[in-house]
Symmetry: C2
Subunit: 423 residues, 2 copies
């Protein structure tokens, strides 16, 4: 008997039909003798609907109020999925309701009800602790906890959310807290691909991938898993299984690198593209110690994730710093930089370039093979693509390019590194 | 300086425009030097949307899951109203947000966050206690608590709801707990009328009305206030002010009868009509002690409110019991009665008559004036309307009639008792 956490994303609970499917799936899983814990996202479209309502009031909403608002999406999904599980269980004769319409296989649980404690960084909160006592009690009673992903409460009992895709992190954190045997991530694709199939028709499903490669792919725009969830899974060695809720085939297993045989080690395992990138260049900054700290400190206090950072050689005592951020953070970043100019760097010029894409290659194999980066640059050059910024790590190389050329770049890299052939 | 609870119903927060209006209104009220506490309902249409989702899964939903689902409607409204208040306060220069987008005049609060404890009768829960410590703390800091109406938590921390219109009860309970000076109920009409203006064009706004009359009017289908909220207001002597959020004119004050001058005492103060009524007749019941207790006990355990009850004189040892319930409870009631027939009263025949209306006249004046009831029957007879059941109390008389004749009946009674002339 195993303990399995099953996480269902927005499209997997996007309609009443899909919700009923999830209910049958969970009950079937339980009937095989396993303990099942569900973590659900908001129905697809729901979070966007709520965000749109907030934007009508304020384009940069106050964060605490925003989190309370959007957390309601997961609450709706928890209510409906639990209702569907009980309804199906009644149909199967597992439960009989009493006169007050109560009976339960499902145990609907919000963040505050199982003590998912987070810090107070609203909209990007990090989980600090989970109280598993209620979960253990419900499991012992043969019930299926249905938990709202994406949400928690801070020390003052304010509702917090974990950022887009945060339900993945909720699922892995709960799996870790419960020492689950497996964490299944159900989504609308049947696994992790060598690249985005919409950008490259030759994309191929990867059977097994290491946590490290998956982290790089996640950080590079593969929307399948939130990167924090992979970090957490790696830390607690929770095996992930990314699979489709529409198609019961085996998906992609994300595991420790030591569980991957060396025969499977390929040079490059995936190509990623992230298209909603903005490049900001700050020109005419004084060449003084602490300038970068002031700029990036201000951005970081607002929880803006800065990606590629490049600093030019100073000329005439003046400095240019360039960096990229996601389109979502652009409005807030601009506001912060304008304040900085008003209060500290009066000469600073802010140059913004939007609609950029970051294309990246990822693979643990490249650690021991020199020349992978230069091959990437050649492939892009041959395709007539100009590179605006470059950044590298031990197992990835990323290039910032014009967003309109993202598809062409991905195809050239996928073909050039022969990803359609491997495995 | 007064402490005022302001409750805004679904239409009052039904659009972003309306929500922004509420925000300005609350801040204006605070600027006059009063302590303001808001209680909000779900945006109009939202609860129906959620109920429709649940119905697609199960026409008689499991109650705990249903409550968790529909409570999210108020959470959305709390988030948006709080966001609008902070946005307006920022515009007025009252607050300045920090780098993490935090600052607050509004304090968004859900039922569980201020310990609104209820019993576990899901969908019709009753409030048992409210912990006012957080509210006092927020008020002392010059903030405006924005509280989700309609919801609470039971002893096991399950989310409960108070029944349709329950936000009125939330508001009055909070006003009572805080010993508020006034409880303003903002709705889409500008007060309580002598009858439903849609049914009778001569309907007139009532300036002041006693708790007792208001309770009768509420129980009789005047949708302005949930009856439990009026009971609660009477018990704790909380003055209510029913008024429009669209129109700043004085509405209707609901106060103790001893505050109404005797000059104001009129025979009949209002005519009410409730159109979604179903009459159930149980025929061929055995004439034995305890039969009624069994029937109504079963219905009451399912929290079905039974209204008019009539028992015929038995003939041949067999009994007929008739009663009315709301259309909403009809499906569940039928199920319970069928179970009762299967297990106890095999000879029982269930006759159902739907689409009925209950028309009623209400007035503290009628206590000391005989002949009011008979005048009502005459007026209905003159209008050609057949009476199916009659029930009376000290300050009201109700008649069950064909639903299609409701409008005609209301007009005849309004005219006959000269309600267009009084006050």
């Amino acid at each position: 008997m195993a303990l399995i956490v099953q996480k269902f994303g927005g499209t997997s609970v996007g309609t009443i039909d899909r919700i009923q499917h999830v209910a049958r799936w969970a009950l079937d899983s339980q009937a095989r003798g396993d303990d099942i814990v569900l973590v659900v996202s908001a129905m697809s479209g729901e979070t966007n609907r709520l965000v749109a309502l907030a934007s009508q009031i304020n384009p940069i909403p106050f964060s605490r109020e925003y989190d309370m608002l959007i957390a309601s999406g997961e609450q709706i999904a928890v209510g409906l999925v639990s209702l569907a599980i009980n309804t199906e269980a009644e149909k199967r004769g597992i439960i009989q309701r009493n006169i007050q319409n109560r009976a339960a296989v499902a145990a609907p649980l919000l963040g505050h009800q199982i003590g998912i404690r987070t810090d107070s960084v609203f909209s990007k909160a990090r989980i600090q602790a989970i109280d598993t006592s209620t979960l253990h009690k419900e499991l012992a009673a043969q019930r299926i906890p249905v938990i709202a992903g994406f949400q928690g409460v801070d020390a003052e009992n304010n509702i917090t959310t974990l950022g887009r895709g945060g339900s993945d992190t909720s699922a892995v954190a709960i799996a870790a807290a419960l020492k689950a045997d497996d964490c299944e991530i159900y989504t609308d694709v049947d696994g992790v691909y060598t690249t985005d199939p919409r950008l490259c028709s030759k994309a191929r499903k990867i059977k097994r991938i290491s946590y490290e490669e998956m982290m790089e792919l996640s950080s590079l725009g593969a929307k399948v898993l939130q990167i924090r969830s992979v970090e957490l899974a790696a830390k607690y060695r929770i095996p992930l299984h990314v699979r489709s809720s529409f198609n019961p085939v085996e998906g992609t297993r994300v595991v420790s690198q030591d569980l991957l045989g060396s025969m499977e080690q390929v040079l490059v395992s995936g190509v990623a593209a992230d298209t909603a990138q903005v490049k900001l260049s700050l020109q005419n900054l004084p060449e003084q110690p602490g300038v970068a700290a002031k700029v990036f400190g201000a951005l970081s206090r607002a929880s803006i994730v800065v990606d590629i950072i490049v600093q030019d050689v100073p000329s005439n005592g003046l400095l240019t710093v360039s960096f990229t951020i996601g389109q979502n953070d652009a409005l807030l970043a601009r506001k912060i930089l304008q304040e900085l100019r008003a209060t500290q760097f009066s000469e600073m010029r802010i140059v913004e370039e939007a609609d950029l894409a970051k294309v990246s290659i990822v693979g643990v194999g490249m650690q021991n093979h020199p020349g992978v980066a230069s091959k990437m640059f050649s492939l892009l050059a041959e395709a007539g693509i100009n590179i605006k910024l470059i950044t590298t790590s031990e197992i990835k190389v990323s290039c910032l390019i014009d967003g309109k050329q993202a598809k062409k770049a991905v195809e050239a890299l996928h073909e050039g590194f022969q990803l359609h052939l491997t495995e």
